[in-house]
């Protein structure tokens, strides 16, 4: 089950996604968190963020909208309270970093780059729920390249994953920009900005008006985008992809691997089945046994190869 991901040897290719797995101790009641291939924290910002007023979520057909607003304890308290817990994990831990200016991103990464317990960082330049920065970084290729370069310099020897926004005209353009800036890996996709209206009150259900759509509803789009970036950018640049968006079974995960992902992350599905990610590891093992696949890497980008 082990895979190589941006120079790291991971026990398996299954991660939990940023913002959907707390700070790890919340999941410990339900599964062995050390059985995960990787773990990505909620977005951390330089200063604490309270987040948006509620309602912050609303369910839709086969998905949900969230507008949490990057609520997090901030860098200082993260280091003091959360890092010691995360440091005990055996899985590869990535800190997801967000901010409103390049300087903020760099400051967070600089502070954490020396932490032995961390495998690397995931750069969130694609959160749809913060007014400044966020999505605007992620949609402008020049800014993607600039921020990636600045953060990569602060990273030291740690792995830098850049998380791509899905709602752009051509995702390969931003993917190329991140690679040019020095990204070691790309993760895709983040959520799509969306809206649900309460027809009785004529108001959006979410206080933030809009929220990010996640869950099974976005899976086919995510698979398509992973495949597009794999074919047009990642294969040639030899950059691994972390695929996510609506994954809730091993079969879903295999689709992402075939499309070109080296690893996958589970987000919304953990809300329904808290141990979903480790169930997917077991399911992948079964699939490989059934298909006589000895190295998972054989699956990556295997779309259109004879079955």
């Amino acid at each position: 089950m082990s895979v190589e991901f941006a120079g790291l040897r991971l026990a398996n290719p299954v991660f939990t996604a940023s913002g959907t797995c707390g700070y790890a101790d919340e999941l410990a009641d339900f599964m062995d968190v050390d059985a995960l291939g990787g773990f990505i924290t909620k977005s951390i910002t330089l200063k604490p963020r309270k987040g948006n007023p509620t309602p912050r979520i609303v369910e839709t057909d086969a998905g949900m909208l969230n507008a949490i607003g990057l609520a997090n304890v901030g860098l200082e308290r993260f280091v003091a309270e959360k890092l010691p817990v995360i440091a005990r994990m055996k899985s590869a831990v990535f800190v997801n970093v967000a901010g409103t200016t390049i300087e903020e991103y760099v400051a967070v990464v600089e502070r954490l780059a020396g932490e032995k317990a961390l495998a690397g960082f995931e750069l969130n330049i694609s959160c749809p729920n913060v007014k400044k920065g966020g999505i605007s970084f992620g949609t402008d290729p020049a800014q993607v390249e600039e921020i990636t370069r600045a953060v990569k310099k602060a990273c030291g020897s740690k792995v830098l994953i850049v998380k791509l926004a899905p709602a752009v005209t051509d995702i390969s353009v931003t993917a190329r920009a991140a690679v040019a800036g020095g990204a070691d890996a790309l993760s895709l996709i983040n959520t799509f900005t969306a809206m649900v209206i309460d027809i009785e009150t004529r108001r959006p259900v979410l206080t933030n008006r809009t929220g990010g759509l996640s869950g099974p509803a976005i899976k086919p789009i995510a698979v398509y985008l992973v495949n597009k970036v794999y074919r047009e950018v990642a294969r040639e640049a030899r950059i691994p992809l972390l695929g996510l968006g609506g994954i809730r079974s091993a079969a879903d995960a295999v689709e992402f691997l075939m499309a070109g992902a080296t690893a996958v992350a589970v987000g919304t599905a953990s809300f329904v089945e808290p141990d979903c990610a480790v169930q997917i590891v077991a399911g992948l093992r079964d699939y490989c046994a059934r298909k006589k696949i000895t190295r998972l890497a054989e699956l990556t980008g295997s779309l259109d190869r004879p079955a």
Binding site: E26, P53, V272, P274
Partner: protein
């Protein structure tokens, strides 16, 4: 010393449905049976704690039986689990049974009506922190608004069993009497308009009912009954009294104001839309005051609550 507020064994469990019946005009009663490890986990269930119930694979009732107002919602798929309280938990050797009272408001609760005896259900729990019983409490004032009844009924039972020294009185408010999740209509009992509500009376807990339309008991908000009781019992030391409340946030705010004026401890059980129920998603934020400061922070309803000290909650920030 306060009593344990939470059972520590959170987990993903399977329950068997013992019965599921429409028990009143507006609500259903679902009875679960837990065995083995699940029975143990739920034997530790504290009143005010909750569960997350997966209804995504349940059948949809036939469309003609669905109230017109809910038909659009009925066609919506369910993805996320839904939070529910228990109104009663009974532990007998290796089996724990629990009652869930629910009202039909949308796709998940509609699907729940199709559960039959012998069906299994996927339940995550017990979750959150329940009501705390502080040492020195002599009087528990239980305030209910409409569907806030289940956890308060559960608390009334645990008080009567575990704290027979505490006198409990229930104040039950509703828009109209038929909207209350009561299996039997309250019967006129005393001259002072207090009513015997059987589900509390059998526990030895007297009750007063207040309805907006005057269909039973006092006509007006339930907080008027609470205020009146406090006035009539003004000689009781305030340290002996604790108010426990569950209901619409507007009612909780009014109850908190009354308790605060008299400097009486008050615990409120709050509601928020929840995606996970276990602290993963931060969807269930409750704005809370920091002690000795003007600053507020968000706590999580599913982890820090759903029961909060009324003094810390900033009410009225969510009217969903």
């Amino acid at each position: 010393m306060t009593q344990e507020r939470a059972s520590r064994k959170k987990g993903s469990h399977t329950a068997t449905v013992l019965s599921n019946v429409q028990a009143g005009e507006c609500f259903w009663k679902l009875r679960f049976r837990f065995e083995g490890e699940a029975a143990q986990a739920f034997a530790g269930f504290r009143p005010g704690q909750f569960i997350q119930f997966d209804t995504s694979e349940l059948a949809i009732p036939s469309i003609e039986t669905i109230p017109v107002a809910l038909r659009n919602g009925a066609r919506r798929n369910v993805l996320l689990r839904r939070p529910f309280s228990f109104s009663d938990v009974t532990v007998e050797s290796n089996v724990t049974t629990a009652d869930l009272l629910y009202c039909i408001v949308g796709p998940a609760s509609l699907r729940m009506t199709t559960l039959r005896e012998g069906d299994t259900a996927s339940i995550v729990g017990p979750l959150g922190n329940g009501f705390a019983v502080r040492e020195g409490t002599r009087i528990a004032l239980l305030v209910v608004g409409g569907m806030g009844l289940p956890p308060i009924r559960c608390l009334a039972k645990s008080l009567s069993v575990e704290h027979p020294d505490i006198t409990a009185v229930a104040f039950i408010g509703s828009r109209t009497v038929n909207a209350l999740p009561l299996e039997e209509r309250p019967a006129v009992f005393e001259e002072d308009l207090s009513l015997s509500v059987p589900t509390f009376a059998t526990l030895g807990v007297p009750s007063m009912v207040a309805t907006d339309d005057g269909s039973a008991g006092h006509r007006g908000p339930v907080t008027e009954c609470l205020s009146q009781w406090l006035q009539e019992n003004a000689d009781r030391p305030r340290e002996e009294i604790v108010v426990y409340a569950c209901g619409p946030e507007r009612m909780l705010a009014a109850v908190a104001r009354i308790a605060n004026e008299k400097d009486i401890d008050c615990q409120v059980s709050m509601e928020r839309r929840m995606a996970c129920g276990i602290g993963l998603c931060q969807s269930c934020a409750i704005e809370c005051r920091l002690a000795d400061s003007d600053e507020t922070i968000y706590k999580l309803c599913c982890q820090d609550g759903p029961v909060f000290d009324a003094r810390e909650v900033v009410f009225g920030t969510d009217d969903a």
